[in-house]
């Protein structure tokens, strides 16, 4: 794999720094607000560890857009919407003709799932298939690390 697995310490530190800045101990915040702040810090920490990945840029752009109503980061990717329209007619034809056209059906299924994955991974709309898998790999690593860090924190606070 190309990238190194992030150090959890760095994640934790960034996470906590962000938390502190957000001043979540303010009594005025509701639970959900706090939760959102925490999640924001977590996402930021995650994205900042892996700066060169597309998904992290996309994540940062999303977060900043959400809270500032404007894109802070210039969008670097081409906004390509990848269409899978061809598949439906293909599928119908395959089913009509012969059930043995399993490959066509399989391709349809794969295409659908790929689209779901694009929705899940931040920035996935603008990637081709190969990059999508790369970014998913990266994203998964960091998600795992993030979950671990948060679990540790929860344990520590019990």
């Amino acid at each position: 794999m190309q990238n190194t697995i992030p150090s959890k310490q760095v994640l934790l530190k960034t996470f906590l720094t962000g938390l502190r800045r957000r001043n979540i101990t303010n009594k005025g915040m509701t639970l959900l607000e706090r939760k959102r702040a925490i999640k924001l810090s977590a996402d930021l920490a995650m994205a900042s560890v892996r700066k060169e990945a597309k998904w992290s840029n996309a994540l940062m752009a999303d977060l900043s857009r959400k809270f500032q109503r404007k894109t802070v980061l210039p969008s670097k990717h081409r906004h390509v919407v990848i269409k899978g329209n061809k598949v439906s007619t293909h599928k119908r034809g395959a089913r009509r003709r012969c059930a043995a056209k399993a490959t066509a059906i399989a391709k349809c299924i794969i295409r659908k799932r790929e689209q779901v994955l694009r929705r899940l991974v931040p920035g996935g709309k603008c990637m081709d298939e190969c990059t999508l898998l790369d970014e998913t790999l990266d994203y998964l690593q960091l998600l795992k690390a993030q979950v671990d860090v948060m679990r540790l924190l929860v344990k520590a606070l019990e």
Partner: protein
Amino acid sequence: MDLCESNGLEKRNGDRIDPQLIPQFGAPIGMVPVSGAGTGTASPFPLWPGMPNLSNPIAEPFNPGMLNQSSNKFPYSGVLPPGLPNFPSEPGFIERAARLSCFSANAGFNGLMNNSISNQAQKGELNSMNIGSGSSHGNQLKNQGSIENNSETNEGAEDKISNGDNANANGDSSQNDSGSKKRKRTNQDGAMGQGQASMKSQEEAGKQTSESKKEVDNSGSKNTGKNGKDAADVPKGDYIHVRARRGQATNSHSLAERVRREKISERMKYLQELVPGCSKVTGKAVMLDEIINYVQSLQRQVEFLSMKLAAVNPRLDLNIETLLSKDILQGRGACSSTVGFTHEMFHSQLLPSQPGLLPPGLPGMLNPSDPFRRAINTPLSAMNPFKDPNPQMSTTWQDELHNVMSMNFATNPPLSTQEIATKPSDGFQL
């Protein structure tokens, strides 16, 4: 993609060839009686032209080695073909070598020598010798084929010779044959790895590591050897050189398509490693499904844990400073207990895969769904030892972070219905 251990190989010595394999090669061409002592099971040896005295049936120099009929000693001890280096006795080397060699992912299992190196070193398939020449017999031989099957398909002395050619030419052709190199392989790695792996291929049936999943049927370098050399050599761009294999279209489009497919399958392999429980999954569709489920479960976990942290808030402010000042994750028991958390959770805390994560004290917490709990319990040993990422932040990133971090949180974005729905806040106290 499981290892096929049904070849009946039991001995897994690091530097020996299982003699049970040898008869497979030698049978079709007639057994050459090696030992003059008329033992029950003669152990023939394949005709490798590189090996000295092979054609001599009364090869006395071999006899002392060959006489070990009952044992599993290597019959060629000391009589290695000159082109091939000695085996390393360290099993871990095979994996590393194979891993290095499998960096260039090539689609299509041509069954050639180099191709099968990492396959076999990792999966323990013993197809290399037979399949190496069997490219003419069809490219459909799968890795899971047993040696017996291969021996049936492999006939003729010329096959053995070509096997030998492949074996000897491994070191060379692996460097000549570009294959579709995704990453540059050092000559040494290529030669050594493949030379040794090809020898090891016959003995390694018992390798089962997570790297075996990384290996693709289709990946591994293509060794056209001297049999299946194809003419077309289409340079693609600056760095990828693809050579069309025998019997394949040399159209540039199909080559590009093949390269693309290989890339994708290589990445699917990596993902298969990462996602727990996907070792037995073959096929893109199921794999994608698992990946999607996993990503969703991880995202849900983050939500859940952030909710939890929010609920534990009163102690959070006390702890943040302490946690920041001390490096928790580093030291064992480095944290003080003055602020009320325990020591022991911090020692080697990178594998918190315990079932009882939910604290009983939190009332009204929603029960994790099955995939969530499954995800919690998955062992996190997939995480390798950590390396510190580059701590330097580019200026753009720094600016961006500052911008985002200084966001005023009092802007109060509208609550999403999803949050309210999934996280019941009945039992929480503020």
